[in-house]
Symmetry: C2
Subunit: 130 residues, 2 copies
DNA sequence: TTATTAATGCGACTATGTTGCAATAATAAA
DNA sequence: TTTATTATTGCAACATAGTCGCATTAATAA
């Protein structure tokens, strides 16, 4: 099944690129300048995941976020880094730091989902100033 | 607001203790030997969290899991360790290994949610044998 | 220009989790 | 022991996130 180039797909990709963050369907829909159906956005995002273009993380709010992170190569997308979720501005960003871990003998690892929650630099400074 | 000792509360606590795993509302409801309303289970679990008795983690399936892990002291519950989610038997267990990380300067950390997904030792051995 | 089929929109559906409210029951007070 | 207080529960309703079937649309190939 080969992919087709569609305006919606391009638009979603642009939003993800420009933001540099991990975004939810809701966030994408509100930022995008064309009208796209909710289900379509999910389908586009899941296709991106299948193609290794973006990676998906699930935050503590139980929602899915999709990121085309800057650290990753164009060819292969990795999700082996930490993510930081700001509880103030609600943004999720990919941190550069890779996740170091080991599992007990005999355990097979297939994926990681590591999110650090807190307040990002910008928001923390704003709260201190006000 | 002081807590009261109720049969439901005790039953949920026992299930969590006996399993030694992180469990979802669904899992608890199916294991428990008395009938408890869905909403009640959530309320009990959230109260446990408030009281620092258990910790909550959200897995890649977007569901909440609650654990009274063995490594933690009775007094203070910590969620600063990795969790392993077996995609085969669906169980989630607390790993002993603590999460080591650092965040960029100016970032404030309040909580962690780190889940490693894969196949646990038992399940992996079963697949190799069959 | 036509044929093929990937992609889309719509609606319906499932599942998870929360909340308001009246009824129940654990604990304190009399 | 009896009564009063209020934490807890069950029920129903609700909110939200995500998926899926299906007919329609529109990229791409022929």
């Amino acid at each position: 099944m080969q992919r087709r180039k569609t305006p919606t797909k391009e638009a979603v990709l642009k939003i993800l690129k420009d933001s540099g963050r991990a975004m939810s369907q809701e966030g994408i829909e509100s930022e995008i300048n064309i009208e796209i159906n909710r289900a379509t956005i999910y389908r586009i995002l899941n296709r991106f995941c299948e193609d290794g273009l973006v990676h998906k993380i699930v935050a503590e709010d139980g929602k899915q976020y999709f990121a085309l992170c800057l650290n990753c190569s164009e060819k292969k997308h990795r999700d082996n880094h930490f993510h930081f979720r700001c509880l103030s501005c609600q943004s999720i960003e990919c941190l550069e730091e890779p996740v170091n871990f080991s599992v007990p003998a005999g355990y097979q690892v297939t994926s990681l989902n590591c999110v650090i929650s807190g307040v990002c630099k910008d928001c923390y400074q704003h709260t201190r100033l006000s």
